[in-house]
Symmetry: C2
Subunit: 433 residues, 2 copies
Amino acid sequence: LEVGGRVLGVHALLVPLRDPAGKVLPGIRIEDCGEKMGLNGVDNGRIWFEHVRVPRENLLDRFGQVNAQGEYTSAITGDSKRFFTMLGTLVAGRVSVAAAALSAAKSGLTIAVRYGDLRRQFGPAGDKEFRLLDHQAHQRRLLVPLAKTYAMDFALEYLVERYVKRTEEDAREVESLAAGLKAYSTWHTTAVLQEAREACGGQGYLQANRLAALKADTDVFTTFEGDNTVLMQLVAKGLLTGYRQRFEDDRVFAVLKLLADRATAVVDRNPFAARRTDSDHLRDNDYHLRALRFREEELLATVSQRIRKRLSAGVEAFEAFNQVQVHLLELAHAHVERLVLEQFLKGVADVKDPGLKTVLGRLCDLYGLSCLESANGWFQEHGWLEGTKVKAIRKEVTRLCAELRPDAVALVNAFGVPDTCLAAPIGLGHLSP
Amino acid sequence: LEVGGRVLGVHALLVPLRDPAGKVLPGIRIEDCGEKMGLNGVDNGRIWFEHVRVPRENLLDRFGQVNAQGEYTSAITGDSKRFFTMLGTLVAGRVSVAAAALSAAKSGLTIAVRYGDLRRQFGPAGDKEFRLLDHQAHQRRLLVPLAKTYAMDFALEYLVERYVKRTEEDAREVESLAAGLKAYSTWHTTAVLQEAREACGGQGYLQANRLAALKADTDVFTTFEGDNTVLMQLVAKGLLTGYRQRFEDDRVFAVLKLLADRATAVVDRNPFAARRTDSDHLRDNDYHLRALRFREEELLATVSQRIRKRLSAGVEAFEAFNQVQVHLLELAHAHVERLVLEQFLKGVADVKDPGLKTVLGRLCDLYGLSCLESANGWFQEHGWLEGTKVKAIRKEVTRLCAELRPDAVALVNAFGVPDTCLAAPIGLGHLSP
């Protein structure tokens, strides 16, 4: 928007595109994006405007108004701050995309788990063949993602609550939360649906069994409403800002806090703890959480240090951040994963029914422990895990999958995807369409 | 085939399905599989035969014949051996699928790398925006897969040669080679195309830019001609058989060989080697190869031990293998990766042109080192790597990507995918279709 020659940044205006007969109005050119991988019901296109006049009333003027005298007013004085406030609208979109992605993951898992419980392949000589889900690798490929899907459910419930109750004070934090969870959730969905497709073999490739459409429709979720890689950098930069402020606000307190955190870390890093391999310890959620917190703090402290070093050596700011981009992405991932585990733990703590609590607790153990397993290289590198413990974690993850196997079908049924929405024959008790 | 009441196993027969007018013949029922995710030009379906008579001449009788007197003869006396000989026909299919997958990966990378070199996004304040490929994370996400794609090229050339020159003696080995490389190549393609799609953002989602079709058509490659997970188990079982034979053939020699291997391993596992972090050492391909060989041997020895332990405790054979299934899959992966690196190294060694040798050598360094990086958890667990070295490897991989960046476009151009086949506007110098 420009008023009286002053550039005021991006503002939204309602512009009529067509006359009542549906003909495009003068000065407007419309082009469709053409066929896409999926979501072809969504009308993506590009629009060009040339000398199109609209009355000032068409300005969406919640954050900035133009009066009859052509004067611009806004409660938000800084142009940049106003721009970011307006961008805040995108947050709702990110919350929705994260949730839509999770729904697709649930459908995909429902199909693959039910089919895996039905379909038999290979078995002991002269005996009945095993169900797919009784093969060790099949349990791992589906039940670890199942645990993560449950974790995401609690995390997104938390996100929606934070979003609904957001205030001006925590708006930035909620924005970062939405960005991080949108990225984590949509990447998860892409991975889950791929795994589900492969786990269903040739049946997974048939359109009738729905995985093809689920994949095609959700593939762009990692891109739209903000590219995941870009969003994760936003998250990391938000953390860096917070980190700097911690020191600026109260240097002494921050240093003490840091020392205390490191002391906790030392407890887990001492040779005894780094080698503990008993099941009780490996299934201790506080232990998982301490590990994820340690990783996040460590990545934050080190990336902050690396950036400072570059800046003081005179490296241009954008270039300095670019030189540690992979590190920033790791930090964001560590941050989101810690958040998700926290919410899963809170969710399990709130459950009253003892049977349900046991199964959910097991899923939560699996999620927490599989986070450690998949980052075991990092944890060893930083002295948090030793070789024998990594081996024990691997065994425990496998064992948890086997323990959850009998409840697998019940756990996907609990997603409550209606048959009419699932609509996949192999997800509804048939071996083929 | 049953002859005179004797069941002789699966044999192939030519059976006419339709009359000259195209009508399905009596006793035959045909059903189409319906629409699939991709490859809809391929006519998949199911056929039922009921009391259909065909003359004995319709038997494809290379490995077993029925004479006019109704007597069965075969040069291969064992039914099981004959069955596996016939299954050998599938090997050609696996070689082809592996190669087709690689071609798709090349097309996907060509599109994504050229687009990444063209498209700009974000940059220093007041300056030109960076090309996508000048962002650190973008280099990693595309150039590490580029190195692997080159590695696969050499490995598949080797596979084709081995396949063409196969004899009865090495048929099993070639079969295993084809199985392993088919799985490794097709999983690589699925991952590369996903990365390419995301790296091209919204443009990658448009059908016009070809990634959607490439993904859809190749997605089933991980399934058909043998499910990848099943094939990798075949590979692992082949290795176990070889391992047992090594001991049976010459126990003393085998033990000495094993001790020698372990001695080499000790050289790299001593604290000095485990901590060496200089670039020369990190780019030493012999070092990469020693690492991959060590991993393969170690996984083979330990999985063999675990199976023996179970069998002697009376666990049923199928169940015993199932209890170590994930370990078997890791072994197969380690085996194939070592093979691929060996072929890449041989390929680079044969290059005469010094400029080409430098660039290919760098790609080979990147492939070898990224194998170590992605398995750094395992290598730390087994004392082959220490934390400081893992950090150094990570830095070196990032540095190699940056060094290869200027040659990235030339390296995808060298795939020689014709423009008419690529057919993606963003892969041919346009920012959008």
